[in-house]
Amino acid sequence: MSENGRVLVEARDVKREYRLKGDLIEAVRGISLEVGPGDFLAIVGPSGSGKSTLLHLLGAVDSPTSGGVFLDGSDVTSMSDPERARFRLEHVGLVFQRFHLLPMLTALENVELPMAEAGLSRRDRLARAEALLARVGLADRMRHRPGEISGGQRQRVAVARALANSPALLLADEPTGELDQTTSAGMLELFQSLNEDGTAIVVATHDLQLAEGAREQLRLVDGRIQA
């Protein structure tokens, strides 16, 4: 899946098991894949097939029970918790189905947040946050709080936040799950546009329209890749 031989994220035979009420759940069962710069991959599959778990493993949000995950050549499974947090901050953008914006901060401040964490000056943060919000089509909504804008606009703010520290990889978990069809189409266009600009994107989705808009699809069933 990589172009020019460079691999942004690689999963090597990753498994993820956890216990739920005493039962062993095998969410991901030995998956190997590579994502390179410029890739736009849609992970599809029924509920409970392990899409979100795989996405979390690829984004170093979760650790595999076995196997390895390498982000830009770094083995994230051997990193400490603070190291992984820093790595995610600088190298991975994450978008969630429920946006998870901070309701009392404006769109601009929400986008500023990861940059503030990364140590950017206020001036640089503001300039970049404004540019990112303009990039996702929210130049006129910068001072609005999440409660004052639509669901689609909130998700665009979340995308801008995910891009704050210029990650090479954008991971989105059901990004259109809370959006109507028209808004979802707009979100797909945004992802395609970002991808054309060089951002590698992996989305876990039930949304056929979004999946079909990706360059590649990966179908998961019961934690395994279905050919």
Binding site: S52, L89, H100, L105, E112, L113, A116, E117, D173, G177
Partner: protein
């Protein structure tokens, strides 16, 4: 700064919840401040009162505290002379205290006025309309019991009255008739007329007590207590160690109780230890209330945001930043509450002081609630620490929640 903005706005997001928390913690803070003021205030006030007299040692009959009982020091003249001969001693002020009756007073040209009017009769019984006075027999040249506010010191045939009597209308130039009550068997018939020479603030008067001072010899004669003293106040020469001198003199005069101010304060502190215990218990309760209040509010607030916390951690916001945001939230609540609480505490202390100033047997100058800046600082610091500590527990719990599992739970 973004974190401060976030924390402040989170508090404003639930104004009723934040307001209730602030009010609750403010009340707890007020109680903590009052208890801190009460815990050390009585001792500090007592020490300050004793020190203000300018005499470092107190000599009283063995086994008593000054004016604790009616016991007196016999052979007072000899004791005074012996003490004055000690090179460590700079001066000795003997005092004889006694309750006498005032049968009204007369003003030049106006005749008789005041209590006791129309009840004058000779006899050992207390007169129904007579006013009870606490009379101090002093050596006007060497005393530390009152401060003249007007007029002159007592002299033979003259008296200095306290502010209470002055407020009742007794003036300089009036004549007071004092007589011993029936309890002084032979002296019961004795009485004397004294011209008011001055008005003074009596340092050790209890609330509402009418105090006057006359020469020691006059009171000794009126009460038939020659060569006696209830108390001697000893002023030490410069550079002397009051505790050490008190210990030495106590060994030299086994029939007397000799104590430094520090030792008297210690004795009084032992007697009043229940105030300190009460203050310690209630102060602890107020800290516990603060901890529980802030802990509960922050736990509710943090539990509401588990999903957001997991998402923030997922995008790389560090545990430290997120915990800091919660601690700042808690700190803001506590700072506002502390400001309100300290003001409220001072207000309540003032009201309680008014009630307790009538505590029987204690000089009215004694303060139960003594304001000292460090008490204010301790109360504020206690509340802030308790609040921040209380927020730390739910914040750390939220930080330790697994990110992926929390996101799974939160996302549909």
């Amino acid at each position: 700064m973004l974190i401060f903005r976030y924390s402040a706005r989170e508090l404003l997001r639930h104004p009723a919840r934040s307001l209730l928390a602030v009010l609750g913690v403010a009340v707890a803070c007020a109680m903590l401040l009052d208890m801190l003021m009460l815990g050390g205030g009585l001792n500090a006030s007592f020490r300050s009162l004793l020190t203000s007299a300018g005499y470092e040692l107190r000599v009283s009959p063995a086994g008593t505290l000054p004016f604790d009982t009616g016991a007196t020091i016999d052979d007072a003249g000899r004791v005074r002379a012996a003490l004055e001969a000690d090179p460590a001693v700079d001066g000795v002020a003997p005092v004889l205290g006694s309750n006498l009756l005032a049968e009204g007073w007369e003003s030049p040209g106006e005749g008789r006025k005041g209590p006791g009017e129309a009840s004058r009769e000779d006899g050992p019984e207390e007169l129904p309309g007579a006013t009870r006075l606490f009379v101090l027999g002093v050596d006007p040249a060497e005393q530390g019991l009152y401060r003249l506010t007007s007029g002159t010191a007592p002299a033979p045939g003259g008296v200095v009255i306290g502010l209470e009597l002055a407020e009742e209308g007794v003036e300089i130039g009036d004549t007071l008739t004092l007589r011993a009550p029936a309890s002084f068997a032979d002296a019961g018939r004795r009485s004397g007329r004294y011209v008011v020479l001055g008005i003074a603030e009596f340092l050790y008067s209890a609330s509402g007590e009418r105090s006057v001072a006359i020469p020691l010899s006059s009171l000794a004669e009126l009460t038939d207590q020659p060569d006696r003293a209830s108390l001697m106040m000893v002023r030490l020469a410069d550079g002397q160690d009051p505790d050490g001198i008190a210990d030495r003199l106590r060994a030299e005069y086994p029939g007397l109780e000799i104590a430094s101010i520090g030792q008297l304060v210690e004795t009084a502190a032992r007697r009043l230890s229940y105030f300190r215990q009460l203050a310690a218990i209630l102060g602890t309760v107020s800290l516990i209330v603060t901890t529980l209040l802030i802990g509960t509010i922050m736990a509710i607030s943090i539990n509401d945001r588990y999903g957001t916390i997991a998402a923030l951690r997922a995008i790389g916001i560090s545990r430290r930043s997120i915990v800091s945001a919660f601690l700042v939230e808690s700190l803001m609540l506590c700072v506002v509450a502390a400001v309100l609480g300290l003001g409220l505490g001072l207000l309540v202390a003032g009201q309680l002081e008014r009630i307790l100033s009538d505590f029987p047997g204690l000089p009215s100058a004694i303060r139960f609630f003594v304001f000292e800046p460090d008490r204010l600082a301790w109360a504020a610091a206690g509340v802030l620490l308790a609040g921040v500590g209380a927020a730390l527990v739910p914040a750390i719990r939220a930080m330790n929640a697994p990110i992926a599992a929390t996101l799974h739970r939160e996302e549909p």
